[in-house]
Symmetry: D2
Subunit: 351 residues, 4 copies
């Protein structure tokens, strides 16, 4: 009998996929060149170029999403630039100022929009706010989070519209794809359509949240930035010596479309959970979930009942004190390993 999992705290709380573990294990075969000169890294680079239909792209592996985002962004940002991102994007709210650190002190210019998506009009306004004089921050890149931190999605057309606003002003375009796979599957589009075909210059292609141990790829469609990226990565201490262990994870992740299968699974269980929560008369969803992440508001009493039943997820506010009927928001995330039984069990606690 397998026990169900009631941990919905984050997709980074879940396990790695056994196939990825197996790939890591298999890569531990004797001696290999270090610092990414090994054959497996070369193979994975080629595979990512193929998947992105970008034979010239520079491809790099790092171990954390913040490293991927900030190293990619810093190649397109001068210290005196502003980076344009949503007010509630990961680079602004969850990286302890890493983009500022890596860029040498750039500003993050916060753009508004519903569903934690930058609205085109707001981006235009933000980019036109600067008068371009020496007294003000200069126009730097935009960073688009896909899927967003709200579990919502930009359509490819929306990404293209944002990129056009940036490109018309000479700015580069970065896509924070910590949940790239979930977005790709939900939109049923190709990686190329969601990125360079829409105007994106640099992608953080997430693996960690979607069943890897700790690996993200950075894909730079303009290979002119390759050497700068390599210097920044080393200088930031993100170049692994036993690089094959990053490559092995990515190899396992990409093999036979495992990355898409895991994302599909997470989105599917996310959808089941969404449906169940919507049917509950006392629960309201903050956003319309499009991938594997759900924000649900409900009375304290329900949260306490769920917790008493063993459920783990993020509740905003003080779960323990206050009137039982007070409504508290919360976040639930389904990782690739969630099953229908898990969702059933979770919904059961709330019913």
């Amino acid at each position: 009998m397998t026990s169900v999992s009631l941990n919905f705290a984050s997709d980074n709380c879940g396990p790695a996929h056994p196939d990825i573990m197996a790939a890591v294990l298999a890569s531990n075969d004797g001696h290999h060149k270090s610092y990414g000169a090994d054959a497996m890294t070369q193979a994975v680079t080629a595979e990512l170029r193929r998947i992105f239909e970008a034979p010239q792209a520079a491809v790099y592996l790092v171990a954390t999403g913040t490293a991927a985002n900030t190293l990619a962004l810093s190649c397109y940002t001068k210290p005196w630039d502003a980076i344009f991102c949503h007010r509630e994007s990961h680079v602004e709210t969850d990286e302890c100022g890493a983009p500022e650190f890596y860029s040498g002190g750039a500003k993050l210019s916060l753009v508004d929009g519903p569903d934690r998506k930058m609205r085109a009009a707001n981006l235009t306004q933000a980019m036109e706010h600067s008068d371009g004089s020496v007294h003000q921050a200069q126009l730097g890149p935009i960073s688009v989070t896909q899927a967003t931190e709200a579990g919502t999605l930009y359509s490819c057309a929306e990404i293209e519209a944002l990129c056009k606003i940036a490109k018309d002003r000479g700015s580069a375009c970065h896509l924070d794809g910590a949940r790239f796979a979930n977005a790709c599957v939900a939109l049923d589009c190709t990686p190329a359509e969601m990125t360079w075909k829409a105007g994106i210059d640099a992608v953080s292609f997430g693996g960690t949240k979607n069943g890897c141990l700790a690996v993200e790829a950075v894909v730079l469609f303009d290979p002119d930035r390759a050497w700068e990226f390599e210097l920044r990565r080393k200088r930031a201490a993100h170049l692994f010596s036993k690089h094959r262990f990053l490559a092995a994870q990515m190899q396992g992740y990409l093999a036979d479309g495992l990355w898409l299968r895991m994302a599909r699974s997470a989105n599917t269980t996310g959808g089941l959970l969404t449906r169940g929560l919507k049917q509950h008369p006392d629960i309201a969803l903050t956003y319309e979930p499009e991938v594997n992440m759900i924000f649900a508001e409900m009375p304290r009493e329900l949260h306490q009942r769920a917790r008493a039943g063993g459920a783990l997820y993020t509740v905003y506010g003080n779960l323990d004190s206050g009137p039982m009927e007070e409504r508290l928001n919360s976040r639930m995330v389904c990782d690739w390993s969630k099953t229908e039984a898990d969702i059933e069990a979770m919904l059961g606690l709330l019913r």
Copy 2:
């Protein structure tokens, strides 16, 4: 029949130990708290405190040696400080300016000394060079590499003498222990003796080069720096979300003294190789090897013969062109997995 390994390029070219792989595999059991709040991280922290006899120490895990060094150093360095290290230390020659980046622009003040060890008199001279005025770099920490990049060792008394020079001037003391285990075994001393008992404030305790995949511990004996370290680690994108996979490596590394056994093995094969090379009339060692790393000078012809036989190691200079009798220096490193048969095979090529 097992084939021999002739790869002596670096200890970061070797495999991870199967027991460490097994520990990683075992840690992949369902859901855990992220960002280091998991139980395994807590257990590993306790174990490192025990090993270092430092119950109050702050202990952190990161994935690269450069991250360990520069995060540790940056907690003790103001942007206007000088860090005192040997002219050929890793922090100076192999980190692409990471200490400067992390510290916000500190200087590295390069101290001389034979065997790539800072000589006490030279450290004193370097620290007294500044007049302390606002025009000059201020006195920052010292960084001692143990074992050195030459494969040589400081005695505990030598470390203590350097720390005393620093402490008398109010400076903190960092130990770069990328090869900590090799040094510990060779000196037959305890971790405490080699560190805080000698005056060290912060240690980079290496795992990667000694049989792990990618993990290093930072031990800060003064827990007052703990929060600053945590902020710096996150801001530098070195805080792992699925932190258990760092912790699992370290757990396997420390279990039943595996870390010491692997280091002993590497030192032993290093010793065998040393003896064999010394017996060769055309080979001269640059330093007296004390751990698992050997610098050997020999005629181009010998290097070419070794290469033709399949040997891999670092040759300084152009191996392919020049007179056959010209002597070129080289570096050979034995990782934990090397066997007597490997050494025999290597020496056989050179005979």
Copy 3:
């Protein structure tokens, strides 16, 4: 016959006061110690301590307002901190990211409020936005601009309320006093009341805009920061070798209350201009002017007429193209040298 001045572009377009010029000239008497060790610098330091009723304060002179602001702030800001300031404060909109540069990459957290004044409720909200975790920017200092960039004023009680919010959370308080004198005169308060008695820790005490050539004082009421400030000033290349020429300006500025007389003059002509503009049926003031700066909205036609008559001031938008009746905002500033005749002439152009 003296010609009138119609230049209202900024108080940094006006001349230095002749008495200050005379002080600079008088200081050019032979040889003096450099880098601030001269007697005149010591005398000016004592005088500023007296004026601020702060005998222990550390006092420094620099040549630009941005240097004063960013050096002062950086002594109270960690790289991972957020600085809390109004969305339209000088440190955010007019310093090309200098606070980010000097602090090593801190964030500016933008606080709203009418009249370009931080509203207490908004400051509280901004400071409570962070959850204090390692993922987010930490609480850094607040920076209050007095007089504001809108020509409005905080009362001393309002400053005290903002400082209390900051101090309750362990944050330091900076006052950007580029127009300190204008505020002091308008509020009829003492420098101490507007600063340390209200909770301010560090002041940028402006001289340049109010009749000096190029000098600002930084007053740190907590002398523990003195040495750090000195290092930051030198490292940022703001320590003058012939320091007496900064000191001489400040000496002349403070002598016999010249600084207050000039500010009073500027405020008075500002008041005359305000009254005149208010009487014009087609002109609307954006803010209620409290010092020497006025934002006035009027039809393009009026702006064009003023320009044709020789007036110089900042018009927002395109002065040359568009319907004559379209209303454009503008900014007019009276420096210390403006006369009643100047104001009369200016108003005459608009009538």
Copy 4:
């Protein structure tokens, strides 16, 4: 009766030239555009272009030598670069790490050579030390100090040789000309010969030490760096609002060759002092003085006698305690205002 000056501590202890004071006074005529948009700044820019025979050059004014050096260098330095300079150059020993701060953490690679001049062979060796890999600092610009901090000079041919070494490797060339005028006069060469004709890309053209109050020009022969320089200058808080007061100093400095006349005067009195010191049997000069700065070693007794007579200059070591015959080194600098009588008086004290 005019009293003699016995202050030889530094050329930054002397007065400004009356003609420069007069120029500043004359510039204080009503209102002008701020931030360098005034006519006088334009005129001075044109004059510097003429003097340097560089009609396309970008020309900027700042107030300190360290600002000129570090802003100029930072336009040619990536954060991961090494700047090559003499071990005892001003940028290394007297700027509190300003080049590191402005460049975002570059290294200073210290080159040896007698007379505080980089020897060509040592520069070549230093630049060839890096293997160019991602692990090491990359090749950044060279910085040549002319005149040196020892009071010695590079010939134009020597500058050209150093620049060639740099340019052959793709590196830019900076000249720290805090004492540019003294060098120009001593070499009897044109500004162009000493700079761009020899391969220099950017010059710090000193004014402060040679009779100004506080002004230095930066001349960038490649105008492509102009905008970056302007952003860096503003962001570093070195853009003056009342910019005319910088321009006026430079105008007075350049008018009728005043800058050359003052330097000639300083060199001449320096020469007189040199001759007198050489004739003294107990005094030995450390370097052969070529401009206005002399390093003289003599017994403590002589130093004490000079001090007792009112002389001021830098003595290295403890003047007060030790045997009278112990020899202490010292530095004496003649500023533009020194007279034959001053030299006579100084020598009289030592006889």
